[in-house]
Assembly symmetry: C2
C-alpha cells in the first residue's frame, strides 16, 4: 500500500489527462506517485471502459482517459504499482494493458504480486504467454504458482496464497520469531503463524501478538491454539466465506486431503467473495448474468439479458392463455379487463417481498429445511392479512371510481386469494428448489410470478364467471 | 475462540434438547463445552425464534429449543461463552436472555466483551439497567464505554473499539514490543501498532510482522508507515466499509477532529456492514424493511410490508385508469385484453434487470454522474434491441395461437416501445434520485414499474385505437 495515501481523494482523471496531453512527463510521474493503485485503476477504466468503447464523447473535463491514454499511463508505472493497478480493473482492460507491455515487463509485474493474485492473472493469459511467464520468473515461485493454478478459481485453493509462515511443533518461540523475520519481510496481512507436525500436517495456529508475548524458550506446540479452524483446498468459496464470518477470522489455513498445510486465505480476498455471492443471488432473481457490469458494451448486455426475457415471454403467454379462457366473460364486462392487472400485479409485488426475504434468509443460514414449514405457513398468513387489508382499500377505490359493488367484491376476493398464493409460492418454491439442490434464486422468480399471474387472472376472472353463471353479476 | 472447534458441525439442537429433558446436567455442560458460540446461538434461536413465538409444533427431533429451554441453556454458560453467544442472536432473544440473568451476572458478561460489542449491548438495555452495568464494571472500562456510547451505531465511532496498542513516535521498537506484551495479551485480531505524537495525534502505523523484524533500538517513527489511512469517528459505516475494501485493510484507526487517535475498527466488524448494506439495497427495491428477518412473527411482517403494498396499489390503479381510457377499444376487440398484460409484464422484467444493474453499479462506484448519460443511452439501446427480438417472437407466437396479423404487429410495436421505456426509466430514475440525494433503491421500483405499466398499456392500446380509427383494424 502506498503510505502517503489520504482518504479524501477526488477524481484525478482530468488532471492525468491534462498532463498527458501537455506531455508533462515529470508532472505526470509526480502525480502518479501520490495516487493509490485503486485511484489509478479507476482513472484508467474511466473512459477506456466507457465512451472509449461506445464512441460517445463527454465534456473534456468530465470524460476519462481513452484506451490509448490508459496504455500510456500504465507503461509509466513501476512494476509494483502496475501489479496493484492490474488487480483493480476489469478483465478486458487488464488484457489490453498487459498486451501493451513486453513479456519481460510482464514477468517483472507478476513477480511483484502475491501468489493468489499472480495465479488469477496468469490464468487469464493465452497459454503461450502463460508458459513464457512461468518460465521467466524464479523457479521457486514458478513451482508455487503451478501448484496453485490447478485449483478452480472459485474454491479455497483458488483463493489461497502460498505466502505463509509455518513452524515445526517442536521449534521454540525464538525460532518461530526468527522464521517470521526470514519470511515475513515482504508479506502483507501476516497476522498468525501456522504450526505443523513432522509430516507437514497443520496442528495449530499462533497469533502474532501471542507469539510476541510468549516466553522465548517455550515450544511452539505449547503456545499454539490446537486443532484450529481449517478448510480443504476443494471447498467452494461461498463456504469459505461463511466460515470466515462464523468464526470472525482474518486468516484461514488450507490443507490437502491428508491435512498437510498448502496455503492461506486472508480476509481481504474473502470480502469480495461475500459481496459477489450476495449480488449473484439478486442478479439471478432479475435474470442477469453476474458477469454483466455497468460499463459493458451494449451488445454484451443485450445478449446476456435476452434468454431471461424469452423465458419470461413464455410464462407471460402462459398467463395470457388463462385470460383467453375467460375472453367471453371479459366481453360481457370490460371493466374486468381494466381491474385484472391490479390483481396480478399486487400478487407479483407481494411474491417479490417473500422471495427477497427467503433469499436473504437462506444466504444467512436463518432459513433451513428445519423451519421451512413454519415459514411457509407464516407467509400464507402474511399474504392473507395483507390481501384482506389491501383488498378492502382496492374495493373502496374501485367503487369510488364508479365500479359496481359486486365487481368491487370480486376485486377484494381476487386480491386476497392471490396474495395467499403469492405467500405460498414465494416461500414454497425457493425452498423446494433448495431441497432439490437447484439454485433457489435463479429459478424462483420465473415460477413464482407465473403462479401469481395465473393465480390472479384465474381467481378474479374465474370468480367473475361463476358470479355470472349464478346470475348475480 | 474455542480452540477445539472443527468446521463440520451438524445441528446440535436435538442433542441439547434431549439432554435438557433428561436433566443430564453433566452431559449438557460437556456438550456445550465442545460447541462454538455461533452454534449455541443458532440452537438457542432455533425454536425460541420460531414455533416458540408462533405456537406451531414440529417433530421433536427436528424442532429447536423453546424460549424457556433457551434460558436454561444460557444460564449454564460461562460468562465468556455467554458474552459471545449474545453477539450471535437477534435483539429480541438477546433481551429475553439478558432479562433472565441477575445484574451481577450481566456485569460479568459485559466485562468479557470487547468495547465495541459491549457498547452495542448496553445501548439496547433500559436506561436504569445500563446505568447499573456502567457503575458495576471497572471504572477504567466504564469511562471507555461511556465515550463510545456517544457515537451513533452506524458511524465509524459506533463500530470502533477502544482496545488498541499505541506507542509514542520517539519510543524504541523494543518499547513498542513491550507495549504489545502489556496490552496485547487479551486482544483478538491485533495486527498492527499505532504510532502517535506527543499530542496523541496519529502519525503512523506499524504492522506486527514489521515490528518483529525491526532492529530493537530503532525508533518507532523510523519504521512506521507515515500518514496512514484513517477516518474520523463521525464517518458513515458505508463509507468505512468502502475504505476497507479500497485499501484491503484489516484494521483502520479512527481519529477525532484534531487527528487524535480514539479507536480502531477491525475488518470482522466491517464484513457484516458490507453484507447489510447490499441486502439493504435489494430489500428497499422489494419494499421491505431491513429489520425484517425470516424468523419474525407474522404480525410484524404484515405491518412492515403493508405500506409498500398500499403504495403499489395506488400505482396499479393509476395504470388501470390508463386501461380504462381504452375500454371502448377493448370492447371492440377482446383479444387486446388477453395480450396487454404481456406487454406490461415484459417491460417490468426488463426494467428490473436495468435497476438491478444500476443498484450494483452505484454500490460498487462503477456508475457515477460522470458516465450516467452514456449508461442511459446504452440501456435504451439494449431495450430497443431486446424489444425487437422478443417482439418478433411474441408476434409469431400470437399468430400461431390464432391472433390477427395486425394484432401481432401491435404486440410487436408495443413490446419494443415498452422495452425502450423500461431501459430509459430503469436507468434514468435511479440516477436522478441519486442526483437529488434520495436513496435510489427505495423509490426507483415504484416509479419505474409505474412507467412500464402505463407505457405498456398506453403504447399497445393506444396504437390499437389509432389503427381502429384509421380503419385498418
Amino acid at each position: 500500500m502506498n503510505p502517503g495515501v489520504q482518504i479524501d481523494h477526488t477524481d484525478r482523471i482530468g488532471e492525468i489527462k491534462v498532463l498527458l496531453e501537455a506531455h508533462d512527463e515529470e508532472g505526470l510521474l509526480r502525480l502518479l506517485g501520490t495516487l493509490h493503485a485503486s485511484d489509478i485503476g479507476r482513472a484508467l477504466a474511466g473512459r477506456a471502459g466507457l465512451a472509449g468503447r461506445a464512441g460517445l464523447a463527454g465534456r473534456a473535463g468530465l470524460a476519462g482517459l481513452d484506451e490509448e491514454q490508459a496504455v500510456e499511463v500504465f507503461k509509466r508505472l513501476s512494476p509494483e504499482l502496475a501489479s496493484e493497478v492490474l488487480l483493480e480493473i476489469d478483465e478486458r482492460l487488464r488484457k489490453s494493458l498487459i498486451s501493451s507491455i513486453t513479456s519481460e515487463e510482464l514477468i517483472e509485474v507478476v513477480q511483484e504480486l502475491e501468489t493468489d493474485d499472480a495465479t488469477d492473472i496468469i490464468s487469464e493469459l493465452p497459454v503461450e504467454d502463460a508458459k513464457q511467464v512461468l518460465e521467466g520468473i524464479e523457479e521457486k515461485d514458478s513451482i508455487a504458482l503451478q501448484k496453485l493454478l490447478v485449483y478452480p478459481e472459485d474454491t479455497a485453493g483458488g483463493k489461497m496464497q502460498a505466502e505463509l509462515v509455518s513452524v515445526a511443533e517442536s521449534a521454540t518461540v525464538e525460532e518461530g520469531i526468527e522464521e517470521v523475520r526470514r519470511k515475513g519481510r515482504e508479506m502483507e496481512n501476516l497476522s498468525s503463524v501456522f504450526v505443523v507436525d513432522a509430516g507437514g500436517r497443520l496442528t495449530g495456529v499462533v497469533q502474532l501478538n501471542k507469539l510476541i508475548i510468549a516466553e522465548p524458550r517455550s515450544r511452539m506446540k505449547e503456545i499454539a491454539e490446537a486443532d484450529p479452524v481449517k478448510v480443504t483446498a476443494d471447498l467452494d468459496q461461498e463456504e469459505v466465506a461463511k466460515i470466515f464470518q462464523k468464526y470472525d477470522l482474518i486468516a484461514l489455513p488450507v490443507v490437502d486431503a491428508d491435512g498437510r498445510l498448502v496455503g492461506r486465505i486472508t480476509i481481504d480476498d474473502v470480502v469480495d467473495v461475500i459481496e459477489e455471492e450476495i449480488f449473484e443471488d439478486f442478479y439471478k432473481m432479475a435474470g442477469l448474468n453476474l458477469e454483466e457490469r455497468v460499463l459493458d458494451a451494449p451488445a454484451r448486455s443485450i445478449w446476456m439479458r435476452l434468454p431471461w426475457l424469452l423465458i419470461n415471454l413464455a410464462t407471460a403467454f402462459l398467463a395470457a392463455s388463462v385470460v383467453r379462457v375467460f375472453q367471453g366473460t371479459i366481453e360481457k364486462l370490460v371493466i374486468l379487463a381494466v381491474l385484472m392487472p391490479i390483481v396480478a400485479g399486487m400478487g407479483g409485488n407481494a411474491a417479490t417481498q417473500t422471495i427477497t426475504v427467503v433469499v436473504r434468509g437462506l444466504a444467512l443460514g436463518e432459513l433451513s429445511l428445519n423451519n421451512a414449514r413454519w415459514f411457509i405457513i407464516k407467509e400464507m398468513l402474511v399474504g392473507l392479512a395483507n390481501g384482506l387489508m389491501t383488498g378492502v382499500v382496492a374495493t373502496v377505490a374501485a367503487y369510488l371510481l364508479g365500479a359496481n359493488i359486486l365487481v368491487g367484491l370480486l376485486l377484494f376476493l381476487g386480491m386476497t386469494a392471490n396474495l395467499v398464493i403469492a405467500g405460498l409460492s414465494g416461500a414454497f418454491i425457493p425452498i423446494i428448489l433448495k431441497w432439490f439442490k437447484v439454485d433457489p434464486a435463479i429459478s424462483a422468480t420465473v415460477f413464482v410470478t407465473t403462479c401469481t399471474d395465473i393465480g390472479g387472472f384465474l381467481s378474479f376472472l374465474g370468480l367473475a364467471t361463476l358470479f355470472m353463471r349464478a346470475g348475480i353479476l
